[in-house]
Symmetry: C2
Subunit: 331 residues, 2 copies
């Protein structure tokens, strides 16, 4: 299955919806700022997930489009604020919002995207009691994302040797997987699924999110800057405690020279390209990148098991293919 082509095809409705929600407003600068990331594309994994799950569970794909768009707006709000906090200057091959405009405008644009997402949520075509459930789910998800982002930053100040892999897992669950969960769970709620189906879709998305994030960390190290649109090596410069880094530090002997090479570059804002390359090579040589690949693969296999609650359909097959794609993609 050509997942990318299908994702693009399935994202068409969503793209129109997303942009239509960003047209109304009185301040032109703010409108341009909120449109900047959504109009640059992106994979639209989250909104497509909401739609496909709703279709697979109860043939309600179309009804889930506004909800999916709301989730994508939330995703974009977090990107705008993350880029300010991490001081990342590029996103999707374009200058970040805070670079193109300024930092205050980026903070406001993130807030405005967040607000618009909840406006859209109020328009989702479901029985009123389901609106309340979607609201609670989505709002709590954003709280967890905030915690995940805070933990990610806190971790940068903790010696990486003191962090356990379970700390990393909890952090990426919050930072990444919960929004996938929200998309899938919401899609199942909109489709009027049983509690068993709703739970299974959430669990599927949890595995998808974990696999996706671990693979993202790999791409940030080995990916092609032109393809990913992000500067390679920034995670090392920013001292991100990824699964790869934690695994390496747990497995490299104290006197292994690769350990020193890694620690020299990690969190060193002035690390040269040579130092970044050497650290990446060290992570590769000691098997930590392979370990991360295997872990992502394991999440994908686990996720697919949760799809068993679904009747056979093109959407069920697509969900299985998406999780494989998430841990194999180049972008």
């Amino acid at each position: 299955m050509d997942v990318i082509a299908q994702l693009e095809e399935r994202a068409k409705r969503t793209n129109e919806a997303i942009m239509s929600y960003l047209e109304e407003g009185e301040n032109q600068k703010l409108l341009l700022a909120v449109q900047h990331y959504p109009s640059a594309g992106g994979k639209r994994l989250r909104p497509v997930l909401a739609e496909v799950v709703a279709q697979a569970v109860g043939g309600a794909g179309e009804k889930a489009v506004p909800f999916g768009a709301a989730i994508e707006l939330i995703h974009n709000f977090t990107l705008v604020h993350d880029d300010v906090m991490d001081n990342d200057s590029m996103r999707r091959g374009r200058p970040s919002v805070h670079v193109l405009f300024d930092e205050p405008t980026a903070i406001i644009a993130g807030d405005a995207l967040f607000a618009r997402a909840f406006e859209v949520l109020s328009e989702v075509d479901v029985p009123p009691h389901a609106t309340r459930r979607l609201l609670k789910l989505t709002a709590h998800t954003v709280w967890l994302i905030a915690e995940g982002q805070q933990e990610d930053m806190d971790f940068e100040r903790i010696p990486p040797t003191e962090l356990a892999i379970s700390d990393y897992e909890r952090m990426i669950w919050k930072k990444t997987a919960v929004l996938f969960e929200c998309a899938a769970e919401g899609g199942a709620i909109i489709a009027g699924g049983t509690e068993e189906q709703i739970d299974a879709m959430r669990d599927y998305a949890r595995s998808l999110g974990a696999g996706f994030q671990i693979h993202d960390d790999i791409l940030a190290l080995l990916g092609d800057e032109k393809t990913t649109g992000k500067p390679v090596g920034n995670d090392i410069r920013n001292g991100k405690r990824t699964l790869i880094v934690l695994h390496a530090l747990q497995n490299l002997a104290m006197d292994d020279p690769r350990r020193a090479i890694l620690l020299e570059a990690l969190g060193n804002k002035d690390a040269t390209l040579e130092q970044i390359k050497a650290a990446t090579q060290a992570l590769q040589d000691c098997g930590s990148i392979d370990y991360a690949r295997e872990t992502a693969r394991r999440h994908a296999d686990q996720g697919k098991k949760h799809l068993e609650v679904l009747k056979p359909s093109a959407e069920k097959d697509f969900l299985a293919a998406v999780i494989d794609y998430a841990v194999n993609r180049k972008i």
Copy 2:
């Protein structure tokens, strides 16, 4: 009527509710950051407004407490982000969130307060269709606040002589009055008010918000730093286009030396205390502060007219007293 004492008395339930909504979370640093402003007090005008309106309209004051708390969390979220953007280092007599922690934590804390507000909104005890209406109202309000904040910043880059008083009025409506409107309108919705009552409560709150903000601008110039908890003169240093400044520039002749004194300090980050004092004196001498006082007073009188839809009650009297207080307070 002792409005301050009544505000304090009526805010007790709200205070407990607000803090109870900020106890749950896994990240201690984030919890401390989100609690920092709410725990420092504040007038609680917005949540009390929601409660008192709900009580006056339909005896539903208690039912409006969670909604009022949600509005106060939103208010605090905007304060946290505003202080980052304006680089204000003090709030309510304490260091700002971004000073006490750091800028990224402040951005996240604002987002988290915003998220928690919408979680609380999902728990408001109203018929499900009213949840949807409250959600739409509140989310759209936050969008308008973002526009107002953006306009406030945009204005700093526009020569103050090119701005009309109507520009200022639109900006403060969004930046300040819409959240008062949301509190009052929401309170009336929760109480099951008629559309006429809901409209009247919103219009009352619009006048309250306008009067409140204009008086706030006066306090920022003339207030006592110890009482207001904010550094006096910052609005001039930041080049804020307040009603007072716009009125002065429209009325001072081109060759009036007070015009030069004002323009020298306005937006001058390095303005000395002497320059700030001279500019403030110029604003006073040319009658612009009196003009602002009269305008705030007019808003208060207009607002009280909208209370006529209410039956006589202690709450109705309190709402009338609150609007007088808003344009006369020292803090």
